[in-house]
């Protein structure tokens, strides 16, 4: 039986379609299709000036806009050979880690929703996760004025400085989140039903993952110890030591385990960044009156950073004008989805939902 799974389906995490060829409830073959959320972001980037691009890429991975902006402006700064002030770098890392907590909370919540249903235990975890995510959005609102699409990274630094007393607020929020983490543990990782549904389901081999270019928690759950924050430090990560969470099994359970461990690690890093936040300027860019005055010399570069979902790359080809000649975004979710045809066959329809949820794809950045 051929089952069209999506694009209008409650648990495809956006508009995503899989053609599932079924034998009873067992999947024989799976063909994923993406492109339902294509918004021509890369083409749009060629038409707009460099300084106008941050609000555009905010909407790519709409669960962690901070890291989208960061990857973009870091590519521009690399081309301009611009030194970013230390405070700005620390702020960027702090934002990225807070965003990682928020994003992983959402991932755990929606994954539980996939397993437990909108009218059941799953939604309880989901709403609890959103409650904590809310605290982080409030923090970002204090800094940037926006709850979601921040537009706070600029070429050469940051746009908004931290308001007075913000560090204490961050610490208070982190304390709350840390205190509530065991609740999620009890409802997810330690729960027998959750374990039954996730252990040995959707096992992704480490070598296959590397071949497909999968990065981030999905790769680390397959036993490959790879994290750009530690292996190719950027922003403030060269000044702190990042402990990378790795799991061996490669199944849905391992992926959830890695995410929860990363939330804990991010909480620790956030505290470090708040405590060690240096004083100084937050922007080294030359002020311009018009967007067209920011021009990038001829050349090309690739910059990759570790977002909550993996390596988000920006490949920029500049031709000396105020617009990019070509701006290619490498979304980690697209590579995660490419594993589906390999790991779905042999699993049931219920598992397909669990596997898709555990890969944590964001269609906004898959289709761009």
């Amino acid at each position: 039986m051929l089952l069209h799974f999506g694009p209008q389906h409650p648990s495809t995490h956006g508009v995503f379609r899989m053609d599932l060829y079924l034998d009873g409830e067992i999947i024989v073959k799976a063909v994923p299709y993406c492109g339902y959320l294509h918004r021509a972001v890369e083409k749009l980037c060629e038409k707009l000036a460099y300084v106008q691009l941050t609000p555009i890429v905010d909407k790519n991975d709409y669960v962690s806009p901070m890291t989208n902006e960061q990857a973009l402006v870091m590519a521009f700064e690399a081309m301009l050979k611009l030194e970013v002030p230390r405070r700005a770098r620390w702020m960027r890392s702090l934002f990225a880690e807070l965003q990682r907590i928020a994003s992983h909370l959402l991932a755990i919540g929606t994954f539980s929703l996939d397993l437990g249903g909108a009218l059941g235990g799953g939604s309880t975890v989901f709403i609890h996760c959103f409650r904590e995510r809310e605290l982080i959005l409030d923090l970002f609102e204090d800094v940037t004025g926006a709850r979601f699409h921040y537009n706070t990274h600029t070429i050469g630094g940051n746009r908004h400085d931290l308001p007075a007393g913000w560090g204490a607020k961050v610490k208070a929020a982190l304390d709350v989140i840390e205190a509530r983490l065991p609740e999620y543990g009890a409802m997810t990782l330690e729960n027998r039903i959750f374990q039954q549904r996730t252990k040995n389901v959707g096992v992704l081999d480490g070598e296959l993952a590397l071949e497909l270019g999968i990065t981030g928690p999905n790769l680390r759950a397959s036993g490959v110890d790879h994290d750009l924050r530690r292996d190719a430090p950027y922003s403030a990560y060269d000044e702190v030591k990042v402990k990378v969470a790795v799991a061996k099994a490669g199944d849905c359970y391992a992926r959830s385990e890695v995410r929860v461990a990363e939330v804990k690690e991010s909480i620790r890093l956030c505290r470090l960044f708040v405590d060690g936040m240096p004083e100084g300027p937050i922007n080294s860019g030359k002020p311009t009156k018009l967007p067209v005055q920011t021009k990038i010399p001829v050349g090309q570069t690739y910059v990759g950073i570790e977002t909550p979902r993996g390596e988000l790359g920006t490949w920029l080809i500049a031709d000396g004008t105020q617009n990019p000649y070509r701006l290619k975004i490498r979304p980690p979710s697209l590579h995660s989805l490419s594993a589906l045809p390999y790991i779905l066959p042999g699993q049931t329809v219920s598992d397909a939902v669990a596997i898709l949820g555990s890969l944590d794809p964001i269609m906004g950045e898959v289709d761009r």
């Binding site: 648990s11 397993l115 437990g116 249903g117 009218l119 309880t124 409650r131 039954q196 219920s350």
Partner: protein
């Protein structure tokens, strides 16, 4: 004549009472779920949200009734009606007090098991009649699940029958009044049989963690995918009816039914039923759901053998200790 009159009056009364209680049950569940999820719950229509359920029914009644073009109209249309009817039918033999009972059959337990088993039919009719792959998958799961869980349900219900020596529900309750509630003594039979009965009942009424037939995160809405308006509402109602009546049956068989001090029997029955309902909803809003094959494994590997052991043990208990 007298019996017919009594049956008609009490039966009608019970149906009206249960239907009305659904509104309260719905309200309780919503408010409870909201509190568990640190939300407030319905509070717009009136400050306490009591009118939310009637408002929902009103909305469902106004919805357009869509029948898919390629659906089997007869099957598609009678499935929700039968679903609700079957759910109510079970309530007929449940005594709500010494006198308030629809029909006190001599084979009451057999009747309620049989009536419950008919519940597979509307599910199958809906799944097949909708001509929708998600509905079909849901129906497939539901039938496998109901047929399997029928076995532990029967075995668990046999335990009170053997211990009390009667299939008449009112006599089972009277026995518990005169001796002990079955969950109190013999507790080593009563408690496991009660748990087994509740698990099987939850599976029969498609409640989380056993709600895989309509697993909305996998099968969109399972058997109800193609249904609109009040037809969907009837399925929804049947599910709630099932929960309430299953709780009432469990209260009668294991918790002493209308037996209790101080207050009149019917209040005890209502209190016990309501307590069970709340427990079921507590489970529902804190657990995730099993996978279809894991559910089958749970049934055949654990619940059925446990049931067989319990039945044999209660027979031995009656022979040697009773």
């Amino acid at each position: 004549m007298n019996e017919f009159l009594q049956g008609g009056l009490y039966g009608g009364g019970i149906i009206v009472a249960i239907m009305t209680s659904l509104l309260f049950v719905l309200w309780t569940e919503r408010k409870m779920a909201a509190r568990m999820q640190s939300r407030i719950g319905p509070n717009i229509i009136d400050p306490l949200g009591f009118l939310q359920a009637p408002a929902d029914v009103l909305k469902l009644l106004q919805k357009e009734d869509i029948v898919p073009e390629k659906a089997d109209r007869a099957l598609f249309n009678y499935a929700p009606v039968l679903g609700a009817a079957v759910a109510i039918a079970v309530a007929a033999v449940v005594p709500f007090s010494a006198t308030i009972v629809g029909a006190d059959l001599d084979v009451g337990v057999l009747y309620l098991l049989a009536a419950g088993a008919v519940g597979v039919l509307p599910v199958f009719a809906a799944g097949w009649g909708s001509n929708n792959k998600f509905a079909l998958l849901g129906a497939m799961r539901a039938i496998a699940q109901s047929v399997s869980y029928e076995v532990p349900l029967v075995l668990a219900a046999l335990v009170p029958v053997i211990l009390t020596g009667s299939m008449k529900v009112s006599e089972i309750v009277t026995f518990q009044q005169n001796h002990h509630w079955l969950i109190v003594w013999p507790f080593f039979l009563g408690v496991p049989a009660f748990v087994l009965f509740m698990l099987a009942m939850l599976a029969e009424s498609n409640r989380i963690p056993f709600d895989i037939p309509e697993a909305e995160s996998e099968l969109v809405a399972g058997i109800t995918t193609e249904y609109t308006g009040m037809k969907f509402g009837l399925f929804y109602m049947a599910e709630y009816l099932h929960t309430v009546i299953a709780s009432a049956v469990a209260a009668s068989l294991f918790l002493g039914g209308y037996d209790g001090p101080f207050a009149p029997g019917v209040w005890w029955m209502v209190a016990k039923t309501f307590g069970m309902v709340v427990a079921i909803y507590y489970l529902r809003w804190s657990l995730m759901r099993f996978r279809s094959d894991q559910l089958m494994a749970l049934c055949w590997r654990w619940l059925v053998p446990t049931g067989v052991v319990l039945v044999v043990a209660s027979a031995l208990f009656v022979v040697f200790a009773g």
